[in-house]
């Protein structure tokens, strides 16, 4: 395990924006599940409703709203922002990088470093580590990390393995240099042998878009999707998660001489309730220490950790919070971060 250490950086604020359109799973799922099966599935994944972006709303629009609100509420001069990093797997275009579009739209200076990172479930932790590294340059004092996805657009409504799971959200996190902060520790890992377990196979350059990739076919267990829809092998991902994540979290805490009891809150990627409850049981984390946002928002891919932080904002009102953030999934890619939230402004979740 490679331990990364960051000093003199802090998360100053988090803002989240979700589409105002809400889908109730009990109604949405009725077309492809029978009654009892639908109830069992909803109870197991823990997703009762999801916010879904209409076709004319992109991830960047949700992140733009979140970022604008955050900069305004924290009274940050846009000229102070030295970098804007956009983490998503649902960009506006194949090219250019959406971060460049957002730099201009947000009115950030031309000296702003802007680029995209193509990661999903682990994206918030990876994104923070990249931004923390940039802030080590003394010339950058503030940076925006924009993280979000509109994964619902990629899912076939006839694919029962994923059609009730994914919601959409965009988030903005303001990170700043601050010499008076505690150290942040992080591990980042990858296992590309699992790349086929969560994939949109068609529509990019390995398998270019064609009538064949767009054709909806019946795959395993009567699930219907095209090669340009998301394919998810839940059991494979579960295997990966229970193999890697508990030892990653324990490894980070051991390497930093941190006692489990010191951790106020654990923020897991919101894969699904069954998986998170299992992880928590395995790690003996009490239920009050791992907030969930699945019930009202579903699995929002890269946005799920900041969204869960925002949904638990009351917990941050009474001073410093020592937290573990753990993102894991598509890639496979995973990252765990140990950090203190001290004076972080977490705004109420906004709809768009």
């Amino acid at each position: 395990m490679k331990l990364l250490k960051f000093e003199g950086v802090r998360v100053a604020g988090i803002s989240v924006c979700v589409p105002d359109q809400v889908v109730e799973n009990s109604q949405f799922g009725a077309a492809v599940f029978d009654g009892e099966e639908l109830k069992k599935t909803i109870d197991s994944i823990g997703v009762f409703k999801r916010h879904i972006a209409p076709s004319n709303v992109c991830t960047s629009d949700l992140c733009f709203e979140a970022a604008s609100t955050l900069l305004d509420c924290l009274a940050v001069n846009r000229d102070e922002i030295g970098a804007v990093i956009f983490v998503t797997q649902t960009p506006d275009y194949h090219l250019p990088a959406t971060a460049c579009v957002l730099q201009d739209k947000l009115g950030l200076p031309k000296q702003t470093i802007a680029f995209d990172i193509n990661l999903g479930c682990s994206g918030f932790v990876y994104g923070l580590s990249v931004v923390f590294n940039l802030l080590n340059q003394r010339t950058i004092t503030k940076a925006l990390l924009l993280v979000g996805d509109t994964a619902s657009k990629c899912v076939s409504p006839l694919d029962r393995s994923s059609n009730l799971l994914f919601g959409d959200a965009g988030t903005a996190t303001l990170v700043e240099a601050d010499s008076d902060t505690s150290q942040v520790y992080c591990t980042l890992s990858s296992d590309g042998s699992g790349y086929k377990s969560l994939i949109i196979e068609g529509g990019a350059y390995r398998l270019q878009s064609s009538s064949s990739t767009l054709e909806v076919r019946e795959f395993d267990s009567k699930n219907k999707r095209s090669l340009e829809n998301l394919y998810m092998d839940g059991p494979d991902i579960f295997n990966f998660t229970i193999r890697e994540i508990p030892k990653d979290i324990l490894g980070l805490l051991n390497a930093t001489n941190t006692d489990f009891k010191e951790i106020d809150l654990f923020f897991f990627h919101q894969a699904n309730k069954f998986m998170i409850d299992f992880l928590a049981r395995k790690l003996k984390i009490p239920v009050e220490k791992y907030p969930l946002s699945l019930k009202d928002y579903g699995n929002t891919s890269s946005a799920s950790i900041p969204l869960t932080i925002a949904s638990a904002r009351d917990s941050f009102m009474n001073g410093k919070v020592k937290a573990v953030l753990c993102g894991f999934g598509v890639g496979f890619s995973w990252g765990t971060m140990l950090m203190d939230f001290d004076g972080c402004q977490i705004l109420p979740i906004k709809t768009y």
Partner: protein, 74 residues
């Protein structure tokens, strides 16, 4: 683990409605019940079975072979 306890708890993991199950009971694993079985085996036998192996399971006895029959007592 006692075999009787195993059958009772496995029934829950498999989300089966049947009153009782035995070695020859047929198994049709869905995505969700596969997660349940992986979790059940991990928690009770400290063993990680691969999703790919579970796809080959037809009856309860196949599952017992994955766990290792020596881990169950009468």
């Amino acid at each position: 683990m006692k075999k009787s306890v195993f059958f009772t708890e496995l029934k829950d993991a498999l989300m089966l409605e049947d009153d009782s199950i035995n070695e020859s009971t047929q198994v049709r694993l869905t995505s969700l019940s596969t997660l349940g079985v992986i979790a059940f085996i991990d928690e009770n036998f400290n063993k990680q079975v691969k999703a790919a192996d579970l796809r080959e399971v037809k009856i309860i006895d196949d599952l017992i072979n994955l766990i290792g029959p020596e881990n169950l007592v009468a």
